[in-house]
Amino acid sequence: MAVAETPPAAPVTPAAQATPIAPVTQVAASTGPLVPSGPPRDGPIPPIRAARTPRTDCKPTKAFVPEPHLDLSTYEADADLMTLSLGPQHPSTHGVFRVVLYLDGEQIVKAVPYPGYLHRGVEKLCEKLMASNITPIIDKNDYVAPMTNEQAVNMAFESLMGVEVPVRARYLRTVLAETQRVASHLLWLGTFGMDLGGALGGGTSLFMWCFRERELILDLFENLTGCRFHYNTHTVGGNRHDVPAGWPEMLHRTLGAIDERLDQYLGMLEHPIFSARTKGVGVIDADLALELGLTGPLLRASGVDHDLRRDAPYHAYAEVDLKVFVEDAGDCWARSKVRIEEMRESIRISRILVDNLPPGPICSTKPLKMVGQHKLPPGQVYVGIETPRGELGTWLIGGGANKGSSPYRLKIRSPSLHACAVIPYVLPGCSLSDAIAILGSLDPVMGEVDR
């Protein structure tokens, strides 16, 4: 066994990582921590699914069958496991994310993810910001699809304040969300190719082409909002920027060109090497996907026919006939397939809706003139929308001590968090190369995971 000959390097256990750092925080005036901060981190890492036995004090449910290799104890006896810290700085973790892999040769025995490297305290920050100011901050959460972030949080505000969105704004939002979906999936396709083909190889070709097309969509957004990214174009009650003259034609040109060129790139994806690397790799079955709260393309690739755009229509989705693509395999190939088909569908919908853009106002509230103009009533709402990565929910609590226009508590339910939570379940049993392919196919955005 090749790996058994490893020089006796210090194992990268989390306990070894936690070097003593002088506490630099001051405790805020509080009653002290409710519970000690977690179990002690010395010694072996507790197995992930140890406590998943049915409880005795209530009716047992169908217990999820734990993967046998998740339990490290069977391995410790006969094999020296090698720990490999994948990340926080690694080309394929799509941001700063760390997975500690326990490897037997190249086989992964156990994977322990450690998110949190990109935690910026957005939720805490939002408690101090006015409703109008949250939009540009929330943009930075999912920095691959900022448009849908804005929509999610603004829809929560509208729901809590009881504001109706004018029909033109609803159509415009739909168009923006769908074009953003194309841009986001294009970026995924490029980075997925790079994960499979390396930074110096065919993957990069795909990556560059996808970026080239994505730039066209960013041009579209730039013409509408003035920014290529982080648009701040949504506000409570509608949009801030109306469509300029010639924009629908530009959208038709751009999306038409992308639609045409997609075929070429997909031809490259039909190469047998791509199928060999993705088929049967990282299978997530429907039960696990549902239980883990996976949404969006990940859930649909596992054979669950669920799409908020069709099942709980918001924006103007009720007015279009949306086709939802479902694959049964649940592997990387199925996830790729679902995303690619979604791109085509999004292009189709956008082109239909932009032609039928109704006239009228784009905002139903008075334009922001005063600081703190939008007052939040007390109450709690949850609004979930279908972003390129899945259900992005906003749980908004108004009122409380923050009487005025700041939310009392704002919680972002991010789809990428759940996508990353799947890692301990699918990585064991794969090889290191597969792990990269799986990470790429999950398409997490770390800004959204850590917030």
């Binding site: 910001l129 006015m130 109008s132 100011n133 949250i134 540009p136 901050i137 930075k140 004018p166 065919g202 070709s205 082409w209 080239r212 730039e215 066209l216 041009d219 579209l220 730039e222 013409n223 509408l224 909002t225 003035g226 920014c227 982080h230 701040n232 506000t235 009650g237 509608g238 801030r240 920027h241 109306d242 300029p244 003259a245 010639g246 924009w247 530009m250 040109r253 751009t254 060109a257 070429q264 790139y265 031809g267 490259m268 039909e270 190469h271 047998p272 090497i273 006239p359 009228g360 106002p361 784009i362 905002c363 139903s364 509230t365 008075k366 334009p367 922001l368 003139k369 005063m370 600081v371």
Partner: protein
């Protein structure tokens, strides 16, 4: 055999791509055409009489999500109208933390702060990215203005805006290269 055919097919695809002209430009020497709505840097404006528009109301300072604007308000007699009015004695905007959200432009009651299409040059010092009042007024003369000011934005978001609205003539889209 499938591998062989697929490989030849892929090679053909890459070859077709190689025949295209590069879409990138040699950036510092050439620049792509930017949209008229592009917002990059800031400027403070004067009105028709050559008087400063800013009245020092501090709305932009209060609305700024990243708190980069500092306004020192003052009251003086206007040399044009000979009436007392508010002025900004000092106005600084720290671009290092600015997130270009356009909210300061949105709330300005006198269209005083606007955004420009050209961004600031990179500098070697932190001070270089702090827009002082002098720099902001210089930007008004030197840089092309962006499309939006508060009046335009308020007009766009007017809830009463009817079906007979007229299109903004300045808001033509730039042709996107490669898309045509």
């Amino acid at each position: 055999m499938g591998y062989f055919i697929a490989t030849v097919d892929s090679l053909w695809t890459t070859f077709k791509q190689a025949l295209r002209e590069p879409t990138t430009v040699n950036y510092p020497f050439e620049q792509r055409e930017r949209a008229p709505r592009i917002r990059a840097s800031f400027a403070l404006t004067h009105d028709a009489n050559g008087e400063e528009n800013c009245i020092g109301c501090k709305k932009c300072e209060n609305v700024c999500p990243s708190e980069v604007i500092t306004v020192v308000a003052g009251k003086r007699t206007s040399p044009v109208t000979n009436k007392g009015r508010g002025y900004a004695d000092d106005f600084t905007l720290n671009l290092q933390a600015c997130i270009i959200c356009e909210l300061c432009v949105q709330v300005c009651p006198t269209d005083a702060i606007i955004m420009t299409q050209e961004q600031e040059k990179p500098t070697f010092s932190r001070e270089g990215l702090t827009l002082t009042m002098d720099k902001l007024y210089a930007n008004e003369k030197q840089k092309r203005w962006a499309w939006a000011n508060a009046t335009v934005l308020w007009d766009q978001q007017d809830p009463e805006r009817g079906a007979e609205k007229k299109e903004e003539p300045s808001a033509e889209t730039t042709s996107s290269e490669g898309a045509s």
